[in-house]
């Protein structure tokens, strides 16, 4: 198959299929890429994100592990230190806490601690976020934990195209990447995704919608309600710019600041709880870099400071179109 042919052909994929396609492409490209996790092999993963990889690459490269997140993460660090490229799956991001020590104390710090002699080029993938009518661990968004740890990169895609490209970039990245997948939109929509492998650069936000009145910063599953709110507000004459950050660490402060200087107003939408959430970090960046442009307080449209609640309360917890629109109006009408 010529490269040209590959580049031209695409497939219409959901986000979770793009994960699978991205893994497949990277495994074909590099024999050192090893996928591991609970039921990722023979069974293809609880969300089918690794479906068929075991058939294509065998159990040396697609490893079904025992139920042991700490062991999985630590093993991945050891593999990465000696040249393999582990891509470890955690079934839900809420099950990563047993692995937290290995991720934070080792994966994140190996390079710095050894003055660059050892590194942990590895990816930990996990579905995250709410909206699936399950409480706590099955729905929470803890991206801020990982962003707070220097040495980790944190990536959250919001489209199938980006998913494949960001995953490839994460796998090829020389440092550990926490790759959080918005499971609410795993199958919500499809997009043309090139068959060939490609990367989407880490650390670069995407302006999903240009506007002049207000900049709204968001990521993951919150991108869609934000775009929908922006559409609705257009009818009211409010011109909303929507920036999908895509990589939360390192954060694309350049795009944030540039957008804010244009609009002078901002809102941040995330499903994680408000206190200690990344909205605070984005606002601080705006204050530091563009204070004189600011025309209104920056709105935080977020989850509440409670454990992710069960069914009856979930609809209230997650920012949706109406709440996002309300927050944006507040900032615009200030």
């Amino acid at each position: 198959m010529s490269t040209q042919e590959q580049q031209q052909s695409t497939q219409n994929l959901t986000l979770v299929q793009a994960v699978r396609d991205g893994l497949h492409g990277e495994m074909e490209r590099d024999d050192d890429v090893i996928v591991m996790g609970e039921d990722v092999g023979k069974n293809g993963g609880v969300f089918r994100a690794t479906e068929g990889l075991w058939d294509d690459f065998g159990d040396d490269r697609v490893i079904d592990t025992p139920l042991a997140e700490s062991g999985i993460a630590g093993t991945a660090v050891g593999m990465a230190a000696y040249g393999l490229k582990p891509v470890a799956e955690m079934q839900f991001s809420g099950f990563m806490y047993p692995a937290f020590d290995q991720i934070v104390s080792h994966a994140a710090r190996l390079r710095n601690r050894s003055r660059g002699r050892y590194t942990a080029s590895m990816v930990v993938r996990a579905p995250y976020g709410g909206g699936i009518r399950a409480p706590e661990h099955h729905s929470e968004s803890k991206e801020a934990f990982y962003v707070h740890e220097p040495g980790l990169k944190v990536v959250i895609p919001s489209t199938p195209y980006d998913t494949k490209g960001l995953l490839a970039a994460s796998i090829r990245d020389p440092d550990p990447v926490i790759f959080l997948e918005p499971k609410l939109i795993y199958r919500a929509f499809r997009e043309e995704v090139p068959d060939d492998t490609y990367t989407v650069e880490l650390g670069k936000a995407a302006v999903r919608r240009e506007g002049t009145d207000i900049s709204v910063f968001t990521w993951g599953a919150m991108t869609r309600p934000t775009l929908e709110a922006a559409e609705d507000l257009e009818e009211e004459g409010i011109d909303v710019e929507v920036v999908d950050l895509r990589t939360l660490s390192p954060m694309d402060t350049e795009t944030i600041v540039e957008s804010f200087k244009k609009t002078g107003r901002a809102a941040v939408v995330h499903e994680a709880p408000k206190t200690g959430g990344l909205a605070g970090e984005i606002i601080a960046t705006i204050q530091e870099e563009a204070l004189m442009y600011q025309e209104a307080p920056v709105e935080r449209i977020t989850g509440f400071d409670v454990p992710f609640p069960l069914y009856a309360l979930e609809d209230y917890y997650l920012p949706e179109k109406a709440r996002v629109a309300d927050g944006i109006r507040e900032a615009v009408e200030f």
């Binding site: 039921d39 023979k42 139920l67 409480p135 661990h137 609640p309 069914y311 309300d326």
Partner: protein
């Protein structure tokens, strides 16, 4: 005094009733989930009833247990109310967690039930802590942790057992070996033939029992309890059992065949116990049918009431966040009311 005296005929009938209740409850829960009635996830205990009922009946009523994501059976065996359980599955205010926990977090600390647990392997250290409390307060209580074969691969399970063993605490560790952790067979998760071999590493007694024989489980736990209460430390019991249903509703179960399930059903705990009781003249076939009907009616009623029950109010999200008063909480709660209030 044990929770249920297996030597008494009334005790035997009660154990049978609890096993039937578990089966009926979880059969219903599975149906409701498949119909889209129940949100979240439900993990069914069908096939494993003898472990929960055998073990808990042999404990004293004041003893503690910790449970798992597959916890409905432990709750019923511990005497929890099926209506409050069902209400919790529905996320209703009348549920054991007032609709905040769901299937995987049902808890009733007053009843000695420290909680189902969404985190695989989290229970054993909690049981160790409960056992330490009993020991510190010089109370005649033991703590029993249930956990799965998959959980035995988790570090914290071993940490919990090691602490209890080292400190000679009144704890009992019961692994429910249903042969799979999700889709992965136990052989692919562990390098030992019997998980009870785990006990050797901690220098505590370890046994493997037929987990589909309620009497065998009962006797093993009765002995373990006596040892724990005498200050001789924990026991590790592996109950060999089987999960009849998929790990979750909609599980295609490529990891086993129908024959595998049928083979396990040959050893069905309820059938075997019933036959034994009928043969011994403890119960007649007609009485058994009545018992089944009674249990079915109880689950019908629990379900109907749970369906009609109220959801918690959105502002309740902020209730019980902290023991002490935190002023910001009220502000937050007000925000939930204004942000979400009109959407109901």
């Amino acid at each position: 005094m044990v929770t249920i005296d297996i030597k008494a005929e009334s005790g035997q009938r009660e154990m049978l009733r609890r096993m039937l209740t578990i089966r009926a409850f979880d059969t219903r829960a599975g149906e409701l989930f498949a119909d889209g009635e129940l949100p979240g996830f439900v993990h069914l205990y069908i096939g494993e009833e003898a472990v929960g009922v055998g073990a808990i009946s042999a404990l004293e009523p004041d003893d503690y247990i910790t449970s798992t994501h597959r916890g409905h059976g432990h709750c019923i065996a511990k005497g929890l109310d099926t209506y409050q359980m069902m209400a919790e599955l529905y996320g209703k205010r009348d549920g054991y967690c007032n609709g905040k926990g769901g299937s995987m977090h049902i808890a009733d600390v007053d009843a000695g039930m420290l909680g189902a647990n969404g985190i695989v392997g989290a229970g054993p250290p909690l049981a160790t802590g409960a056992a330490l409390t009993a020991s510190y307060k010089d109370e005649d209580r033991v703590a029993l942790a249930f956990f799965g074969d998959g959980a035995v691969a988790q570090g914290q399970v071993h940490e919990g057992i090691n602490l209890a063993a080292t400190w000679d605490l009144p704890a009992i560790f019961v692994v429910e070996n249903n042969h799979f952790g999700e889709a992965t067979p136990v052989e692919n998760q562990h390098n030992v033939e019997h998980l009870s071999a785990t006990a050797e590493a901690y220098n505590i007694p370890g046994f493997t029992v037929d987990g589909m024989d309620v009497t065998a489980v009962y006797e093993a736990v009765e002995e373990a309890r006596a040892r724990a209460a005498a200050g001789d430390g924990p026991t590790f019991i592996e109950a060999d059992t089987y999960r009849y249903k998929g790990h979750f509703e909609g599980d295609h179960e490529p990891y086993r065949t129908k024959d595998d399930i049928d083979d396990a059903r040959e050893r069905d705990a309820i059938d075997r116990f019933k036959t034994r009781l009928v043969d011994a003249g403890v119960i007649t076939d007609a009485e058994f049918d009545d018992l089944e009907a009674e249990v079915e009616a109880e689950i019908d009623e629990a379900t109907e009431r749970a369906q009609d029950a109220e959801y918690p109010d959105p502002s309740e999200a902020y209730e019980d966040m902290f023991g002490a008063h935190v002023p910001e909480i009220e502000e937050f709660a007000a925000r939930v009311r204004t942000d979400g209030g009109e959407r109901q």
